[in-house]
Amino acid sequence: MIVTGKGGVGKTTVAVALGLRAAAEGKRTIVCEVASQENASRMFDHAEVGFHEVEMEENLWSISIDPDESMREYVLLQLKVRAMRDMLFRSRIFNYLAAATPGLKELVTIGKIWELAQLDRKIKKGRKYDLVIVDAPATGHGVGFLQTPRTFANIARVGPIHSQAKQLDRLITDHEHTGTAIVALPEEMPVNESAALERDLRDEVGVAVDRVYLNGLYPERFSKAEAGRLSGLAESEKGAVKAAARAALSEHNRARSQRAQLARLRRRVEAPVKTLPFLFEPDLGPEAARRLSRRLG
């Protein structure tokens, strides 16, 4: 399951919530972070997990996929001999070439995700997972990360990496086994970008989006008539009553403008849209993710 979207929309929260839900259903699940930001482990107040599979809760594991570590692991799998791998990584020229090859880092990162999803794991004593959830890097420009295998297969026309890149592209576009979700916010820009992302994923990567999660939707706490009465209060009263009336009006206005964005999103994307509530909580911990996970459906 690939969870994607622009920065700051709550991808990690949704990825973890999806993970919790799957784990609760008894599936052995791993959440993979890709940009090495360790947001998932932070959510669980866990120490940094790094490039290790660490259990967060029953059935729920987490790993932070570092491209350099993935590269080391990949080369070892190719060469089979640790000493030879280490010699290679000490070579300046090899490091230089690895850094210079466009997309190689992204490619080995996706390679690691593929490896985690195998029932016959390539690494020794690898655990078998029923579900691998990818907290994909923020889409800065279009679909870069997920497109890497396809791009790479075109640059490297022959050799083992060509066929491996093709294999990874198949993993991403295999709609029977791989799902894709976009996380959006009920605001102008994120709605536009989610619609563009869905289109680019379809046209450029060949990925059909299964679901769009609209995150952070304010509840509709006050009716229009009530808002009218409260705006009278905000004018005439003082102190805490005035402030409380203003806060209620703010909530009402935002909830309303967010409903308009939700309607726009529904019109503009093909995938079904699922809303997730804004949580009025100072810091989102595992409890918040658990509550969201119950709303995922």
Binding site: K6, Q37, M87, G103, G159, P160, E188, V241, A247, A248
Partner: protein, 383 residues
């Protein structure tokens, strides 16, 4: 605390930096509009702006060149602008192509680079090339000297660090110092460097295929005539970034994560000896100062005033939710100010409506450019 106008006084470049999703594009546009309103000729360089924001600035058919925002648009929205506002959307690939055209000694070397598959990949897709080209365009516009102030909206990066290191990384890449020699099988290097290198090369070849290796070699050869030019230029870009006429503003949101990233980014700026101007925190839940310590009888008072207990209960519950967020924001911002040891922390409240037109920008500017007293008054006015 200095006002934003004071922070930007005499500056020629303002770079807005921060992680994704914190309102950088809007903030950059608002700063540019605000400084143009004060009488400067300002150009904002933005990447991928919100379509409606672009529309409102008259940007829709913009390419890789600066265009003036029609002054009539400001008048329509009741915004007074004494100077000029210009804007452009950066096209990284086009900028890179232009740069190659300028640096290439002749047309043949230019085409060799432009046609190379590796070049086509890095110019549009390689992490860092967008950042590098943003710098490049900034440098070009600054050299031309057509504007009093340039405001750069930096590309969304996974990691704030990428953006600072991009120019260096990309020049090192293009340099390909050690590599070009090694690439020639009969070259001197093959004889003197011995087995280590040839093993490394052969393993690399085994993994990525000969094809790709040949393309890489071709790429470096094609670039060979331009390396010095690129190096010299990158040096001048770096110098410009560190110049006292440049000002970095860190943009963030009030939640824990964006604050952590702002702290981290500030540390990187300081380490790189780049001029830090201040931090802008967007979407802050403003508490009214006098409301610390909520009156215990608020629900009762509300019920009495409204004559509706159910509504009163909901209003009180909503207020308490907002206060919790406001308190979190205040705590986070205090931590931010301490960690950065800066007095320049500018707060922009979470407005009721999304900002995506000139009127919205003007509304943001009331907060961005507020003086100390105005800030106090506005904070007290909103709850």
């Amino acid at each position: 605390m200095p006002t934003l106008s004071e922070v930007l006084d005499g500056k020629e470049i303002c770079i807005c930096a921060g992680s994704g999703g914190v309102g950088k594009t809007t903030t950059s546009a608002a700063i540019a509009t605000g400084m143009a309103a004060q009488g400067l000729k300002v150009c904002v360089l933005t990447i991928d702006p919100a379509k409606r924001l672009a529309d409102s600035l008259g940007l829709e058919e913009l390419g890789n060149e600066a265009r003036r925002v029609d002054p009539a648009l400001f008048e329509e929205q009741g915004v007074e602008v004494k100077g000029e506002l210009w804007a452009m959307m950066l096209d990284a690939k086009a900028t890179f192509d232009e740069l190659i055209a300028r640096q290439a000694p002749d047309e043949e070397s230019r085409d060799r680079v432009l046609d190379n598959r590796i070049y086509q990949q890095i110019s549009s897709a390689l992490a860092g090339s967008q950042e590098y080209m943003a710098m490049e365009k900034l440098f070009e516009l600054h050299t031309e000297g057509r504007f009093d102030l340039l405001v750069l909206d930096t590309p969304p990066t996974r990691n704030a660090l990428d953006f600072l290191e991009a120019p260096k990384r990309l020049t090192q890449f293009i340099e390909g110092k050690s590599l070009r020699v090694f690439m020639k099988p009969t070259g001197l290097a093959a004889k003197v460097t011995g087995r280590g290198v040839s093993v490394a090369l052969s393993v690399f070849k085994r993994i990525v295929g000969f094809d790709l290796l040949a393309d890489l070699a071709e790429f470096f050869n094609a670039f060979s005539g331009m390396v010095d030019g690129f190096q010299a230029r990158a040096k001048r870009v770096n110098k410009l970034l560190a110049d006292p006429g440049t000002c970095f503003l860190v943009v963030c949101g009030p939640q824990g994560e964006p604050i952590d990233e702002a702290v981290y980014f500030h540390r990187k700026l300081v380490e790189a000896k780049l001029p830090f101007g201040g931090v802008i925190v967007n979407k802050v839940h403003y508490p009214a100062d006098q409301l610390r310590g909520e009156p215990e009888d608020l629900p009762a008072t509300l019920a009495e005033t409204l004559g509706d207990e159910d509504l009163a209960r909901r209003v009180a519950a909503n207020f308490s939710d907002y206060r919790a967020l406001a308190e979190r924001d205040a705590r986070n911002i205090e931590r931010l100010a301490n960690e950065l040891s800066t007095r320049t922390v500018i707060r922009v409240p979470y407005l009721d409506e999304d900002v995506h037109d000139l009127a919205g920008l003007a509304q943001i500017n009331r907060y961005l450019f507020a003086t100390g007293e105005e800030r106090v008054a506005m904070a007290a006015g909103r709850a």
